[in-house]
């Protein structure tokens, strides 16, 4: 059996036995891949630091199609992303995108998702000021790559484009924004033009628009993820909520 190599990012690592680890990678060519990494915890094990959560690199693995866990030959780390552990917000954001991918990705290759994941982690590590925005953009980026992006420009019900100053409602269950007329009487969160443009920027992975109310944005993405993407509440989202800066008083 010849080993195959693919670009990969490590999402999760569990100790196994005295010296091994069970690793869950998102790979470019093989989708979500569970591998057994023998001997990487042991004294002097090669690549001990390299198999760190959120690290990217080239994974070489012996693949048997029917196996749940493949056998790792090597993981050549190209980007460690140790900076994600240096701030709780960065760590929470990275954990949330990883959990989202683990909850929804499949073993079929999805290069769009792979690149969205890498971009989300890089943004989180590199963002100097807008770390909260980078965390929210990361989650929205994965949601979009999984094919669930919300509709923001036109009303999800009547299809009319929202006016420049129109305040709509974010209807997570319907998959986007309701215009003022269709949203009348709705209890869903109000979304004005500023929040809408911030949401659009987050979906595009732009951190240039300052996020005024990060916790409200988190509530939007949490509702959306809970309804459309994950079959269970994401544990990391709760942690992200704990470490996000508080919204300013209105």
């Amino acid at each position: 059996m010849a080993p195959v190599s693919t670009s990969a990012v490590l999402l999760r690592a569990h100790p196994y036995g005295e010296t091994s680890r069970v690793l869950r990678f998102l790979t470019e060519d093989h989708g979500l891949l569970g591998v057994m990494a023998k001997g990487v915890r042991g004294e002097g094990g090669r690549g001990v630091t390299a198999v760190s959560t959120f690290a990217s690199g080239v994974l070489t693995v012996y693949v048997k199609p029917q196996r749940e866990l493949q056998t790792m030959k090597d993981f050549a780390c190209t980007r460690l992303r140790g900076g994600l552990g240096a701030s709780l917000l960065r760590f929470a954001g990275a954990s949330t995108v990883a959990e989202l991918v683990l909850a929804h990705a499949e073993s079929d290759p999805n290069p769009t998702l792979f690149h969205a994941m890498e971009a989300a982690l890089d943004r989180l590590e590199e963002a100097s000021e807008a770390v909260a925005a980078a965390a929210l953009a990361g989650v929205w980026g994965i949601v979009e790559a999984l094919g669930f992006a919300p509709q923001l420009e036109a009303c999800i019900r009547c299809g009319e484009r929202l006016g420049e100053d129109e305040v709509g409602r974010f209807e997570a269950a319907a998959g986007g924004i309701l215009c003022a007329r269709c949203g009348e009487g709705s209890q869903s969160p109000r979304v004005g033009p500023i929040a809408r443009s911030q949401l659009q920027a987050l979906l595009e992975g732009r951190l240039d628009a300052p996020i005024t109310f990060p916790r409200r944005h988190l509530a939007l993405v949490s509702d959306f993820v809970a309804y459309h993407v994950a079959s269970r509440p994401l544990r990391s989202l709760r942690f992200l909520g704990d470490v996000l800066p508080p919204d300013p008083e209105e």
Binding site: E18, T49, T53, G85, L88, S236
Partner: protein, 197 residues
């Protein structure tokens, strides 16, 4: 279910033991002297009945306080925070540390639903507060992983306002290893943490 199946199942639940190894262990016990099996059984019973977490640090102990906390010659002004109780043994085996410990019971891991409330953080902070300034330094010895680092950052934020110095274990090249075989990330960490001679 037969006794053999029952014991095989119990062994197989232990870390690192699969069904085949579990069955091998059961066969070994059946073939050996009966006293060996009785001694093992007694040891497991005593473990379950006598071992408990140390009331002060959370380390495994046969008494209310573990051997380290009960030792008056240990420096109680120096607390080393570790993820798990078996990390205490690793540091003790080095024979260099004279302070006391605090066992967190894990590390922050949002993916597993482990936040600060699931760890022994509040007792640590209470321990520092109650010492009335006796605790001079808290050494954070969580693992050198992203999760361990995030846990260290969280602890530092919580402990520093209480007064003690907060330090982190150094990272670098393992003693006795050849530089040629050390991976690039470890070398990068060692370069970043170099010290003047």
């Amino acid at each position: 279910m037969s006794v053999i199946d029952q014991l095989t199942g119990e062994f197989a639940r232990l870390p690192g033991i699969g069904p085949k190894t579990a069955l091998r262990l059961v066969h070994h016990l059946m073939k050996g002297p009966k006293d060996d099996a009785r001694r093992l059984s007694r040891a497991v019973m005593e473990l379950a009945e006598r071992i408990r977490p140390c009331a002060r640090c959370g380390n495994f102990s046969e008494h209310e306080l573990c051997e380290v906390c009960a030792n008056p010659r240990r420096d109680s002004g120096l607390i080393c925070v570790v993820e798990e109780a078996f990390d205490v043994g690793a540091i003790e085996r080095a024979g260099q540390y004279r302070g006391v410990f605090h066992v967190l019971g894990g590390r922050l891991s949002p993916l597993d639903g482990i936040g600060p409330e699931e760890l022994s953080v509040a007792p640590l902070l209470e321990r520092v507060r109650a010492s009335g300034g006796e605790v001079r330094e808290v050494i954070i010895a969580t693992n050198a992983s992203v999760e361990g680092e995030a846990t260290a950052v969280y602890l530092e934020q919580q402990i520093r306002p209480l007064g003690p110095k907060v330090s982190r274990l150094a990272r670098g090249i393992p003693v006795g290893s050849d530089l040629e075989y050390v991976d690039g990330t470890t070398i990068a960490e060692a370069l970043a943490g170099r010290r003047e001679m």
